[in-house]
Symmetry: C2
Subunit: 453 residues, 2 copies
């Protein structure tokens, strides 16, 4: 028998479909040297006892303790890394004013590489401690600090997809926080792509450069076009914001006489590795264009409460075949946890279905059939994120990366209220009630990257 | 100078009004033998150095460490203690079906006193660990288990207000989970009141019996009337549910041709120590009746998402002079944390203001001026709860009980993202981002009741 690098024994929860979970009870998980899941072995399988015998006294064998469970690591599709410095504050203004009053000023400080290192190091560590193994990051306009973020991901073992942000539109960006000019923006983006691709070679889990026009308002047509070309040339991921709020959505209609989706597509920015944040105001033909091009939505339910003027209709968009994952949108969203965001995704969907104003007659209060379950929110945080990025992550399945979090439901300081539940109920309690404290270990591509003693 | 039992030195946050916080920077907090705050001493005061000199080497002196802050202990105005066993599950049905399918069956198990002890002990410990120092509890119909809950609060040092639930209406309650008859319901309630008043004598922090008709549908007119009389006879607190959901609100209109508020008032159940959960469908004249009688609302924002068919208009009700506090409503709400509920109170208020359906024109989407700030949500979780209960709790102020939580923002495993903020920003980050792990000590009436090492 081939030698495995790691063998885990325990019970795992993973998505079988957008709506159903699969419970792998007392399985063996056999990981190869590349950190990929080579084989899942059920207790009924003939080789189950044989593998245990072969590995149980080796260091590579990990038996989960009573009350511990495996979940896939979370995939966070939208983080503004520099904004970690202001998380949990500055939630009182609408999007346009928020950007200009709080956010652009704090991002401009990331020309200071020491400050950047302090914030980025703390953020990557925090996200790992929250069970997030893959992150799609916006950095800032600064090339050096953006490369530094990728280096910190590489060093801490997180699968980071990082974008140097492009903002070259003098009408919409402050003088002290924007690219020097369009040519420089594109040149530095290309240098950034090359540097991160080079860095990636020294990592096991991969780090990836991402073409990142902040959003249409920040960018000139020339920059958007040039970025579409760069993404094609280097086959990179693409990220931006799309139809986020009344203001942003209307700005694009005024400028292009079309919605964000069609405008972005004109510039070659919608493709299978494109991920667009928010998309609250996507019309049905926009959604169809997303489905056709393979573009995914990064749903950021906490952030949307403060900045999006409405709730993303997740159930409706899933029914249209659009890929959707979950994002914290630090710091539009205050929480670094995708557990918190999964909970809010369920909550927001229920509020869209029920409506909010008790003075309205119940028939007209909400939008029927909008609710999603916790199983679906879990899918968004895991497999949905993997699909969005077109990477083999987010599921505990053969040929997927060994990106997992080990949840302990019984530690005395953060015990979950378990009183002889079925396993599907244990799963629900984990999703609704666990805290970072319950996350005892986090693994990325077969490497242990976070551990609590 | 009089001898203090405890002296704390540090920075505290407390409510100055519903909308403003007070920052007590580097104060001394002098606590007397009854566990009450005898004196607050500012660093500018003449006796500041003198008190430090007198106490700094005594065991009674507690200097907060760098990064630690004091908050008032939280006041949770609505907990169904037996439902802790199902927290984080069973959130998929409307109120009426949820009660009959999941909730009455689990509550009926509390005839088993051993099971009750296991669940209640775990719950009280968990709430203390979440910074909650005072709790208004629904127990079950069972007298013994209800007394046991009060005993567990007494033993663990929590200020528990506990109600034996009355459910005597055979039309609306299952045969295996209701009071034997109206007479028994009232007799057992009276015995319960006497037993808990007796128990209270042996506690420093106080435990209190609460007259608790579950809600109008569960009770006969005779029971409601008898409970009003018992509350007056023994001067107890009163709790129930009020205008929670479309179904419940309409049931009461059908039965009495009036809203819950006026029906409850007819039975003598609205008074200064009455606390009514939810109240989502309160009309303006109901709200005026609440303000006149001194009845308070227990706002349960997480639970309301799943069971209330709308958002409580907190800002509007505050403007009408109604007292409002915060409740987790375990397990209609899945979280035992009032931090989580304060966050959701802000979120729900923003969603009420913005609306939820992006397909509607922005002018008609939401209800203007509905938002509350985190300062107001903090008020609800602390001082608002104290006001609701007419007890001197929920503020760090002279002649209030020393009920506090010490928050550590710098512990390595749960460090908040602090990078040289102002103190009001530190407060916001604490409210949005702290976890039970950040709560290092909890004190009730001058007694240490929870500590993490």
């Amino acid at each position: 028998m081939k030698e495995f690098a790691l063998v885990f024994q325990g019970t795992a929860f993973t998505s079988r479909s957008t709506k159903e979970i699969e419970i792998l009870k007392d399985y063996l998980f056999c990981i190869n040297e590349d950190g990929m899941i080579e084989k899942l072995v059920s207790p009924e399988s003939a080789e189950y006892e044989e593998i245990i015998k072969q590995y149980e006294f080796k260091d590579s064998f990990h038996r989960l303790e009573k009350g511990q469970y495996l979940l896939p690591g979370f995939v966070d599709l939208h983080v503004h890394a520099p904004q970690w410095a202001q998380s949990g504050t500055a939630l009182d203004l609408p999007l346009y004013d928020w950007l200009n009053t709080y956010t652009f000023p704090i991002e401009s400080k990331f020309s200071d590489i020491e400050f950047a290192e302090k914030v980025y190091d703390d953020l990557v560590r925090t996200l790992l401690a929250n069970g997030t193994t893959t992150v799609l990051y916006f950095a800032t306009v600064h090339k050096e600090a953006s490369i530094l973020l990728a280096e910190i991901c590489a060093k801490q073992g997180q699968r980071g997809l990082v974008g140097k942000v492009v903002m070259d539109n003098v009408d919409q960006c402050p003088p002290d926080y924007r690219d020097k000019d369009t040519e420089t923006a594109l040149k530095e983006t290309e240098e950034f792509i090359i540097a991160v691709k080079d860095l990636a070679k020294s990592t096991k889990q991969g780090v990836y450069p991402v073409v990142t026009p902040r959003f249409i308002p920040s960018c000139t047509d020339e920059a958007l076009e040039g970025l579409g070309r760069l993404a094609a040339k280097y086959d990179t991921h693409i990220q931006s914001h799309c139809s986020e709020s009344d203001w942003e959505h209307e700005y694009v209609i005024d400028r292009f006489n079309k919605h964000d989706a069609f405008a972005l597509n004109d510039f070659g920015l919608l493709q299978d590795k494109s991920i667009m944040a928010h998309c609250t105001f996507l019309a049905d033909d926009d959604a169809e264009l997303f489905a056709e091009t393979g573009t995914a939505i990064s749903h950021c339910p906490i952030s949307n409460v403060f900045f999006s003027n409405g709730v993303l209709p997740v159930a409706h968009l899933h029914s249209k075949g659009v890929d959707i994952g979950l994002g914290t949108d630090i710091s539009g969203g205050f929480s670094p946890s995708l557990f918190d965001n999964a909970r809010q995704a369920v909550i927001s969907s229920r509020m869209l279905e029920e409506g909010v104003d008790p003075k309205l007659p119940k028939e007209t209060r909400g939008v029927p059939s909008s609710r999603i379950t916790m199983n679906e929110a879990f899918y968004l945080a895991t497999a949905g994120g993997g699909d969005a990025l077109s990477l083999p992550i987010g599921k505990i399945e053969e040929n997927f990366a060994w990106d997992v979090q080990i949840i302990d439901t019984l530690i005395p300081s953060a015990k979950l209220p378990l009183f002889n539940e079925r396993l599907d109920e244990v799963f629900e309690k984990i999703m609704y009630l666990s805290r970072p404290e319950n996350i005892r270990e986090v693994w990325v591509q077969g490497n242990l990257v976070h551990k609590r003693n």
